[in-house]
Symmetry: C2
Subunit: 253 residues, 2 copies
């Protein structure tokens, strides 16, 4: 473990959402869980009986900078103790068991958790050991099971992958990132239609001159198709200048 003061700042982490690893075996997996938690702005990591003791250098290596989460991880000797301050607990499982259980999709489970946390409650998800998952006694401690619907022939998720899916859905619930957005470097601006029309006229003037648009009855549709190619690319001002330079270059004697 490193000194907290010199560790990477992870920004504000969600209050009221605990990730509880029960009997985790590999330090690497604990570290990758911490990394996934940092990616999803979750900070409350709890470990029940980590097999190889704690702290664990292998965890630090795999955390890729999420050391703050490892440093503040709490260690418990029983699952009951680890969840004692929580009101809403889900148990992550990948297979059906001989238990009567409400089975929640990750999205639905984190919806309930977000709602409860917004009301000042504390929530958490239990994750079992790598080799065999949670035992039935631990599953019975939850309000319900949280099960990721996967390829039915291959349902065994890596521990950090299971945590990531839950954290990812937690983020998604309040994520307002548009489905598609045009990212522009700071100094780049989408071209105005005036600039684009200037480019089109330049191009078509040269295509008329070289005879490419020489068949009168086909000219309108050819012009339309060529304009369409460039319009789909949503050109920047810089790109319009580059394209005009290309035309000038190609038509130079």
């Amino acid at each position: 473990m490193n000194d907290d003061a010199e560790l990477q700042d992870l920004g504000p982490l969600a209050p009221g959402f605990a990730v509880i690893l029960v009997d985790p075996q590999l330090g690497e997996n604990i570290g990758m869980v911490a990394r996934a938690m940092a990616n999803c702005a979750l900070g409350d990591l709890r470990l029940v009986r980590p097999r190889d003791g704690w702290p664990n250098p292998a965890a630090v290596g795999a955390a890729a900078g999420a050391d703050k989460i490892l440093n503040s991880a709490k260690i418990f000797q029983s699952t009951t103790e680890a969840i004692s301050d929580l009101q809403t607990v889900f148990a992550s499982t990948t297979r059906l068991r001989d238990m009567t259980q409400d089975v929640y999709s990750p999205r639905e489970a984190v919806k309930r958790m977000r709602l409860d946390v917004a009301h000042g409650l504390k929530a958490g998800v239990l994750f079992g050991k790598e080799s065999s998952g949670l035992n039935n006694d631990d599953v019975a401690l939850g309000l319900g099971a949280l099960t990721v619907s996967l390829n039915p022939k291959f349902t065994s998720l890596n521990l950090s992958h299971a945590v990531l899916v839950v954290g990812y859905e937690w983020l998604r619930l309040v994520d307002e990132t548009p489905d598609v957005k045009l990212a522009l470097p700071k100094d780049k601006w989408p071209a105005k239609m005036e600039d684009i029309s200037g480019f089109f006229e330049h191009l078509e003037r040269e295509l008329d001159a070289c005879g490419f648009l020489g068949i009168e009855e086909k000219r309108p549709i050819m012009v339309r198709n060529i304009r369409n190619i460039f319009q789909r690319a949503r050109l920047t001002e810089q790109e319009v200048r580059t394209l005009r330079g290309i035309i000038s270059g190609l038509t130079k004697k």
Copy 2:
């Protein structure tokens, strides 16, 4: 690598969706990518210049049974070659670059991929090396960037985590798992209301007898509240029998 014949059956894997790892460094990560792909029923893994050569024993260990995907992985010397048969390519990136780019959410990118694949096209996602991601030349090969919206202070995803998010969204698009479902072991059935009413009457009879429901004007609301506790649990036939047994046990002389 093991003999294909004795490997775990992964069921049908999605045709037309390639995962392309460019300059992957750690065999463990390639193995965990294969595992995540098997979880999400994706089979087409392509490796561009894997640093430690191929095959790689560390990959097999981390694949946790997804060896079939490793065995059929194709190796390429350039990204262009690796995507030559694909029509729809996205470039997974975690940070903004000095490039003008359409940036797709994972969900929106896999929507386009599903649509194209349904029309017989082939699609893929490029993932860069662990230390630095894709270079700008590789990003420029894509129709757009695919960027997971994460904690802005900690956006670096483990390679297999990035693949998992994309595969998970790919599965989710056609997943019809209900948000919540009651999972019952084979021999368990939810109780009929007749059985539940029988239990309530049994309980209330005993509570009347012992005086717990003795305050006449409070009796209706107390009965309603007690019934409500048990109704929320959606009891099975077996559980109703157990609860009746508990009442009989507690009231025995």
